[in-house]
């Protein structure tokens, strides 16, 4: 599978990562090599095989919806890169 520069730019946009021109070229080459190797999966007949999403037989884990103490506002905001009063501050959202 060939991953060209346009593919890389599209995927980088989906992943919200800005890439330099050198990175785009490097990832185009490396992802192509890696995916070409992964194409060996096509050899395997999976016609009637169920996909595995989880290895242990677990059903949904429920708990009762009870209020429990959590970290306070100050504790939560302590790691914020930018804040205003009791809120996270971000650049404007609309273009």
């Amino acid at each position: 599978m060939k991953v060209d520069k346009k593919d890389v730019e599209y995927v980088a946009m989906l992943a919200r990562i800005e890439l330099s021109e050198e990175e785009k070229e490097l990832y185009s080459e490396q992802l192509s090599t890696i995916l070409a190797f992964f194409d060996r999966l096509k050899e395997v007949d999976t016609e009637n095989v169920q996909p595995t999403s989880h290895v242990v037989d677990l059903v949904n884990a429920y708990r009762s919806d009870q209020v429990r103490p959590g970290p306070g506002v100050e504790e939560v905001l302590a790691n914020a890169p930018d804040r205003a009063q009791r809120f996270f501050r971000v650049p404007k959202i609309l273009d």
């Binding site: 980088a12 490396q30 190797f37 395997v44 999976t46 095989v49 169920q50 242990v56 996270f88 650049p91």
Partner: protein, 486 residues
């Protein structure tokens, strides 16, 4: 014996008898760390003050006659992807370089309650993505047996710290071999428990369907003691399994008579290191002499383990790492961003290293419209076949013995330019995560160049006991030394 050479078991006896204090051992190890860590780079953060405070608390507990916990007063190291309350948890990434968690991971809390002393946080590949501990914001960690070589990864700092006696034992995490491979490269014992055995609450997520926390230790007994302290159901991790945890020590009998050892032909492949193969085959012969019975088995889908693993793990990683957006915690790109979206893009560009970006890209690609069925879903289907291989194999054997890695530790820098070559090293470890099985790596010899060789022992789901039993019996016969002249 010098204090730093102690095991958990040996030190516990001395602490309980009050022959030595935890503060004394902790000071000794901190001094050793400050002497050797600048070269080895096993620790990212050393928590001297906190460690001494914990040690004094443990001494108090022991003075009060409470010596029930084998970990009480024992200095250990924590991998830097496990949240430690009030101590920065970086994942070796610029993204979390200054992140100070407001809570302990459950595994950390359990060790804290057991009275363990935390010396610091160990080096790793960024976000646990790598097999060499070269992809770290804080620089590569070195192999104590040969400083020009990698210690393996991603728990390379923990394995190095245990092998170089910079701690008594350590925690690691294993998504595709990240405990077992560095344990093999550094000549120590490391175990990935069954998926669901240990809570991952507070472990920074990489690939949630595969991640598991486990012990790295100097011998099998210590491995079982640390494992015992880590295991147990936790309502905070919805994948943790609510089943009884056996007393692992009861399996350390040395008796493997009648035990059926599966030997998969697919794990002794052309091109693998001849000395590694010989060391592992010799290990099997030793177990056979003790009365175990080797059985030829087949795991026919082994060759597909790498693509399946790297598709599933990167897909999950691309989703898990979406949370690093420069808003709630962690790094935000400096300078003005006109819009929120621009801030996201620049933050993630500057905050993640090259390997993490590569994996996010790969995973995003595999999940993207038009490729989902060909890659992600296909990988999940072949994963089912890999699991079934093990189910079938375990009808004929009780444990499976293989090499942990096809070759010994490689020189620093040798594989960083070729990611696929690095991925291929994980061929014998990734399938175990895909099947959710417990697996242990232990030293089984050294190459002519003096590098340790790791033997991997795999068991059925939730049968860590039989894995430890096998490992212990082997250790009793060999007493392979993992000591180095660090």
């Amino acid at each position: 014996m010098d204090l730093h050479e102690e095991t958990i078991q040996g030190l516990h006896t001395k602490l309980a008898r009050r022959e030595v204090s935890s503060e004394e051992v902790t000071r000794h190890l901190l001094a050793r760390i400050s002497q050797l860590n600048p070269e080895l780079n096993a620790y990212i953060t050393v928590t001297e003050e906190e460690a001494l405070a914990q040690a004094r608390e443990a001494d108090q507990r022991l003075a009060n006659g409470d010596a029930t916990s084998p970990l009480c007063g024992v200095p250990i190291a924590i991998k830097d992807n496990m949240n430690t309350r009030g101590v920065r948890t970086t994942c070796a990434s610029r993204m979390l370089e200054h992140f100070v968690p407001p809570f302990d991971a459950t595994a950390v809390r359990k060790l804290r309650e057991a009275g363990a002393v935390f010396l610091g946080k160990t080096n790793m590949d960024e976000f646990a993505m790598g097999s060499s501990t070269e992809h770290s914001l804080f620089g590569p960690c070195r192999n104590p047996h040969d400083h020009e070589r990698v210690p393996g990864g991603s728990s390379g700092g923990s394995a190095c710290a245990v092998a170089a006696d910079l701690c008594i034992a350590a925690t690691g995490s294993d998504t595709g071999g990240s405990i077992r491979q560095p344990a093999a490269y550094c000549g120590v014992v490391g175990m990935k428990p069954t998926y669901g055995r240990v809570s991952r609450f507070g472990l920074v997520a990489f690939a949630s369907s595969l991640d598991q926390i486990g012990p790295i230790a100097k011998d099998v007994t210590d491995c079982s003691l640390l494992l015992q302290a880590l295991c147990g159901y936790d309502p905070c991790d919805s994948t943790s399994v609510d089943s009884a945890v056996p007393d692992f020590a009861s399996f350390l009998t040395g008796d493997v008579r009648g035990l059926r050892i599966g030997i998969p032909g697919e794990y002794f492949i052309e091109g693998m290191d001849a000395e590694v193969e010989e060391a592992v085959r010799n290990g099997i012969r030793i177990l056979e002499k003790e009365g175990a019975r080797p059985v030829e088995i087949s795991l026919p889908h082994t060759a597909y383990g790498i693509p399946v693993y790297y598709l599933i793990a990167t897909a999950e990683a691309s989703s898990n790492l979406a949370r690093y957006d420069g808003v709630k915690y962690g790094f935000r790109a400096k300078g003005a961003s006109d819009t929120l979206r621009q801030m996201y893009h620049r933050t993630r560009s500057e905050g993640f290293g090259a390997e993490v970006k590569r994996r996010i890209m790969l995973g995003t690609y595999a999940l993207s419209s038009g490729y989902y069925d060909a890659y992600y879903r296909k990988a999940q289907q072949v994963c089912t076949l890999i699991r079934q291989d093990f189910v079938e194999a375990f009808q004929h054997c009780d444990v499976i013995v293989t090499p942990t890695v096809p070759s010994p530790a490689f020189p620093i820098g040798e594989k960083t330019g070729d990611p696929l070559q690095m991925y291929l090293l994980d061929i014998f470890t990734t399938t175990v995560n895909l099947a959710g099985l417990p697996g242990l790596s232990m030293p089984c010899g050294t190459t002519s160049g003096g590098l340790p060789v790791g033997m991997q022992i795999l068991g059925r789901h939730f049968d860590e006991g039989t894995v430890l039993k096998t490992a212990f019996a082997f250790e009793q016969q060999t007493l392979t030394t993992s000591k180095t002249q660090a």
